[in-house]
Symmetry: none
Subunit: 406 residues, 2 copies
């Protein structure tokens, strides 16, 4: 895998323009042994043409057999080895719910939990209370004040929420308070590094948790809070520094905007936008201003998670029908892929390598394929390779990399 | 990737004989989407037969998307991870111009540059003066003497030259004097390690640069010198130690002889030789004396860089026609590949994986292919893999490796 030092050393300021189109959860499985996958079933004349003239391969988001979450899967697409860059859950959750994150804020992912009269955790998910029920309790917790910091809380889904702390001298080096098993009490927050800021932050968290448990008395089954993934913005290397790319993100869901922000992309306003056609028009609208545009289409993943095979195939067709709006921009490099597979058959993210299409008229080895699909991609000229390699590949095809060595 | 410790542990003293035939810049691209590459176009009956009976794959010299120089690309073929073994430019250049290099010499790559009256660099390449013009200035600089060391200068191409320093107590740990941008003065040479030898070497370089600038007064536009890649022989692990191979190099160009020397091959005299047929006869002539012969054919790369698609295809045919001279030796392992791709379409080295053919009658998985070409190699039984893995593979096919573990 090419590394960032090498990218920094080789990346040029000038070169071709790149589009990365991500159909979330694109990869699928056939429902029957003899059948076709969602993508193989979909009628996609535009992608099929691109598959023939362009190159094909398949990408592995994290490692063989590993089903990634959306955070690591997207980091990989952006060139960040998701094992090396293990972003704290708190940060991803904060971005996921669209919180305003500054570099010195600390965030944690919270669970409502059930405590018995002795303070022992009896249910780590508080009976999976609804988001509505969680909101009621968050309202109670919002009245808690801790001197020296500002605390913001936001519901995620069901029993999950995000704790966001802003103030001077904070640190992300604090262990989880979640004991991970029932039958144990909540853990005290303890620093995991020697720096005074870590002890200071642990103290603040312990004060807040203490007050929270007081305030939640009578709010069973959600009368406790467990915190995980305490973290600050990981200060990832940024696209303009590493790749010398002026990059933008066109995505509808906050999570994807968040990950894009982490790597230094400009997040384009997509208020009131929903359909692929509208997203692609947004891309066209900013085309002159950026070297690299990441465009994210969420629905194939959701439909896969719903087990809706036909719906997912139909949605892929809808994306294909809108493609000419991107093709008319004549990008030097167009990549079409997914962050991970979400086969309707499995109703969840999976580990299967994701079909990857790279169209770069000036520089690709044409695959000669007659369609875009999983199995033809597995045998494609690009082989099966880590997702984190698509960025060096894209830069190469955009003629944005100097030669390595004499 | 197999590593040298493993090779040292497993390599046997006995086994089959190996030929590595490198067609420099072998990999190509079709000129049109529907067309064939240079190699796919060439009529290569001998290679085609070997491709069918032998195994096929494709190799990645450095990393996906990275276009390598010839130095790192050959190091990779020889089994040295070119990222780990990042050989200083000075050493490669010195070998490239055929200088006599001893283990304790220090070398640097030089540029003639233009300085204004305040010593500010206004052109890092001195208007790209010709090699002839550079030679005139080198003659001036050859009169400079620095006590305690012997300095040798040799022209590379145009404004480039090699500075070679021989003496006691030198070090390669000295930073570039090239500011890398115009508008800045030349940098003083500074040591990059604590050892006294580094300071001593930096002092010598600064003395030499000072005298050089004095001597070049009036020689505008080439009145300054910038040095990069100060380095000593990296003392790479050697073929006989790591692989237990008595290895020889048959190459015409100094650069390739140089890299072969770095890894401990015996460099065969090729004075007056030019054609593949002559090189192969040279291989035949020394066949009894070596376990491993690296044979390098330069022209496909040069023709690719000239954008001469037909010429490159024709030259590949010429190599194919000469192949029987190698085949008559009945090597246990014959590998045919390139160091990198040089598609005529791109007129430069590229990142595309390089076709790799491995013919070992006793041990290969026959591909059943009907020709030798990029796309059939990408789908070959060996897959797409790092160039640095071909040596372990060759040793295995020559039955020169012990089993790993009980």
């Amino acid at each position: 895998m090419a590394n960032f030092d090498m990218m920094r050393r080789l990346a040029r300021d000038e070169g071709g323009k790149i589009i990365l189109l991500v159909l979330d959860g694109l990869g699928g499985l056939p429902l029957e042994a003899t059948g076709k996958t969602e993508l193989e079933t979909a009628n996609t004349p535009n992608m099929d043409k691109l598959a023939g003239a362009g190159s094909l391969g398949a990408i592995v988001p994290v490692a063989r057999g590993i089903s990634p979450g959306s955070g690591p899967a997207h980091l990989a697409l952006f060139g960040y080895d998701p094992i090396q860059f293990d972003i704290g859950r708190g940060v991803l959750s904060a971005f996921g719910v669209g919180m305003d994150v500054q570099w010195n804020d600390v965030m944690a992912r919270g669970n409502f939990a059930t405590l018995d009269e002795n303070g022992i955790v009896t249910d780590r998910r508080a009976g999976r209370i609804s988001t509505e029920e969680a909101e009621k309790r968050l309202d109670v917790l919002r009245s808690i004040e801790i001197p020296g910091v500002t605390i913001t809380l936001k519901a995620e889904k069901e029993y999950r929420f995000v704790l966001h702390v802003r103030g001077e001298g904070l640190s992300g080096h604090v262990a989880d308070t979640d004991p991970q098993v029932t039958g144990e009490p909540m853990q005290k927050a303890v620093p995991t590094s020697e720096e005074p800021a870590a002890q200071f932050t642990a103290d603040i968290i312990n004060q807040w948790v203490g007050k929270a448990v007081q305030a939640l008395k009578g709010y069973e089954p959600a009368n406790g809070v467990l915190l995980r993934g305490v973290a600050m913005d990981p200060n990832l290397p940024k696209y303009n520094d590493v790749y010398r790319l002026k990059a933008a993100c066109v995505a509808v869901y906050p999570m994807y905007k968040g990950v894009s922000k982490l790597v230094g992309m400009t997040v384009i306003d997509t208020y009131d936008i929903n359909e692929p056609q509208e997203e692609f028009e947004k891309v066209a609208g900013i085309w002159g201003d950026y070297d690299f545009i990441f465009c994210h289409v969420k629905r194939p993943d959701s439909l896969g998670e719903d087990g809706n095979f036909d719906g997912k195939a139909a949605y892929i067709e809808k994306v294909d029908a809108a493609l000419p709006t991107l093709l008319n921009l004549n990008p030097d490099v167009l990549m079409i892929t997914g962050d991970h597979s979400t086969p309707a058959k499995l109703r969840s993210h999976s580990w299967h390598p994701v079909p990857f299409l790279l169209h770069a008229p000036a520089t690709t080895m044409p695959s000669g394929a007659d369609h875009f699909g999983e199995r033809i991609c597995y045998k494609g000229p690009l082989g099966i390779f880590p997702s984190a390699d698509i960025m060096p590949l894209a830069l190469a095809h955009a003629l944005r990399l100097d030669r390595y060595g004499a």
